[in-house]
Symmetry: C2
Subunit: 391 residues, 2 copies
């Protein structure tokens, strides 16, 4: 039995639902109603993401005068899949573990997962919500408030079970570097960073814009956790395509990020920088690396990319794939690199297998040698994050 009891499941992708007070209790009162806060509204039907709807008396975030109805962003753990088109629209619609790090520990224990890395929800996974705010001072305070909440409160509840993660004020490079230093001082071990900055109106990985941030991250041994969707784009689907069409394709975002990064100067400038493709899946990695190498071989001469280093060697040194279930990826682990695979439980989203995560991983690892199973379940994540507080 490869997945043995002593092997901890360290998940590098889960999601925290913010409570109503995250910003109102931390951001200076001078901003008044612009501060992100929760209001109750009566709605006929409000259309949420992925064609989900909500109706009746719902709770909604309000930030800088704008309403954001998706309180319970895909917080469906424990709900009957037949009801998944109705997004949780009130805190009392969700399991308390979604927003309460104390209650969540019991859910993690039921799930057999030791540690989680909790991405933001209202701020969006890489904090890009606050790019939308015209008041940049407020936006910066909101980023700081979320980092304080996550690093001091949430992780403080169980420092050996919650992986410290931070987000950055992406619109202001100096503020990024300052906040990164501050987050490191507060114990952050990784940064949630966009998979592609260009759709956000920010410079791409093909410029030197992000160098100060990447240099600091590399120096501090802080990986960039790039969750699919953080570019603000999703794969194109027909407007009338049913929800499963886009949900099944989200890994394509991570494939795009891979091609973009490997053919950019990033890992040449920062050879020790690490990037993990949160929720990207893994079974496509051998195909795409072969494809990128093949294109690079012939297109490198005229296109301005580095001509010396085969892109797949950069993946092996700088990138990591993440999976919830991906039998193709597990079976292809030697082509991907056993040491480059990370596990995730994605609680409390619809892709999560809560409360059976451990059981499913154990089945998936049936034919995997013990030492490889231990790497995939626990050790790779601890090595990447330089975090293993229980040892």
């Amino acid at each position: 039995m490869p997945l043995q009891d002593f092997m901890k499941l360290v998940s590098v992708d889960d999601h925290a639902i913010e409570t109503a007070d995250v910003w109102t209790s931390r951001v200076p009162a001078k901003y008044g109603d612009a501060i992100p806060h929760v209001e109750e509204v009566e709605v006929d039907t409000v259309r949420l993401q992925l064609n989900a709807t909500a109706h009746g008396r719902v709770q909604t975030w309000v930030y800088a005068g704008k309403t954001y109805p998706s309180i319970g962003l895909n917080a469906v753990a424990g709900k009957d899949p037949r009801t998944w088109d109705v997004e949780p629209a009130r805190f009392d619609d969700m399991r308390p573990g979604c927003y309460d790090p104390v209650a969540r520990l019991a859910d993690m224990d039921a799930d057999g997962v030791w540690a989680q890395l909790c991405f933001p929800s209202f701020p969006r996974f890489a904090g890009t919500r606050f790019l939308e705010g015209e008041d940049r001072a407020l936006a910066l305070d909101c980023i700081r408030a979320w980092n304080d909440w996550m690093l001091e409160y949430w992780c403080g509840v169980a420092p050996d079970r919650y992986i410290p993660v931070c987000v950055l004020p992406l619109w202001d490079l100096d503020a990024c570097v300052t906040e990164l230093r501050r987050a490191i001082d507060l114990g952050a071990r990784c940064i949630s960073f966009p998979e592609n900055c260009s759709p956000l109106g920010l410079p791409s990985f093909h410029t030197d814009h992000w160098d100060p941030v990447f240099a600091r991250a590399e120096e501090a041994g802080m990986p960039l956790m790039m969750h699919f969707g953080t570019s603000g784009r999703t794969p194109f689907v027909s407007p009338d395509a049913p929800a499963p069409v886009v949900v099944s394709q989200m890994g394509l975002n991570s494939m795009s990020a891979t091609a973009d990064l490997l053919l950019s100067p990033t890992f040449h400038k920062f050879p020790r920088l690490q990037v993990a493709l949160a929720e990207g899946g893994t079974g496509w990695i051998p195909y795409l690396l072969e494809r990128i190498d093949s294109v690079w071989e012939r297109h490198r001469w005229y296109s301005g990319v580095d001509v010396e280093t085969r892109p797949s060697t950069l993946f092996a040194r700088n990138m990591w794939g993440c999976f919830i279930t991906d039998q193709a990826g597990i079976d292809l682990r030697h082509r991907i690199g056993v040491d480059r695979l990370l596990y995730e439980s994605d609680y409390p989203h619809s892709d999560s297998l809560w409360p059976h995560s451990r059981k499913h991983l154990a089945e998936a690892l049936t034919d995997v040698p013990d030492d490889e199973a231990h790497r995939i379940a626990e050790l790779n994540a601890c090595e990447l994050l330089r975090w293993r507080p229980w040892v």
Copy 2:
């Protein structure tokens, strides 16, 4: 040696460059200058696709008053990869085999490829260029003219070496059905059809719009060859991303088409309809089918998709993957279905390995049993297309 001399290479994806007279010699003269024709112009620099440029005295298509400078759409076979940023802009810039089906036979012989399936170039791969023409009568005549040129002239040069393919007047369903019947009478064995009609302003596969065409295609045993890019979209890349970034990701279009089709009613309504993903690559297929199945299992209940039939079983019955080189796909062939794999040479584009196609395939099939190699190289295509005129 799996790839034995008696095994013919039947390629299901190549590209024909139209000569200047294709339409002027066939379309009624009444349309005058609106008829697609070639003009010579002097340009400083004209930007073409994929950041390629051309300069000097170039030849350009002109259709309905609009100029289309890319005469030699990626027609780079035989050219030094260091010059690939400069697109062939004159017929005398390309190997004659690009536009001359007689000269092409010698190139095919050098390449070790027995048969090719030649997609349109100026009309775009699925004929969607003619969606741009306001004069629908002219557009229909242009579609007919291309089909005549391909089916009567091009294939007529060597009926046992060129696979008869047609395109359709997609803006007019009745005209589609009529032209499909006419093309079948002229010997067509397959249809080049868009991978997703929605970006073209046409109904998606989630409607019943295309049913008359699909019914006829199914009845006639005519597969739909869906070349990546025929939706008119390409994967998003930063504007400053070097060319290899988008070139390496084109298979993502085929992944999207796969998710879209398998979660649509198409193969439920037309259980014998066949779709091949031209140039999509194959190594991603096991990953994506696993992912689609997994999402379908839980999201099927509320989303309106068919709840009975696992999507991967539809792939095994209705879809085909195509590759030029794809070692991951060959090694995973049993998960994909040895019988669902098609070979292609992609002459004369930059992805082609001309004139070493046969050699490369032989190497790729080194560890493949003879009977499987024969299926992949020749028999699968012949079965799909119901075409094997040399037997």
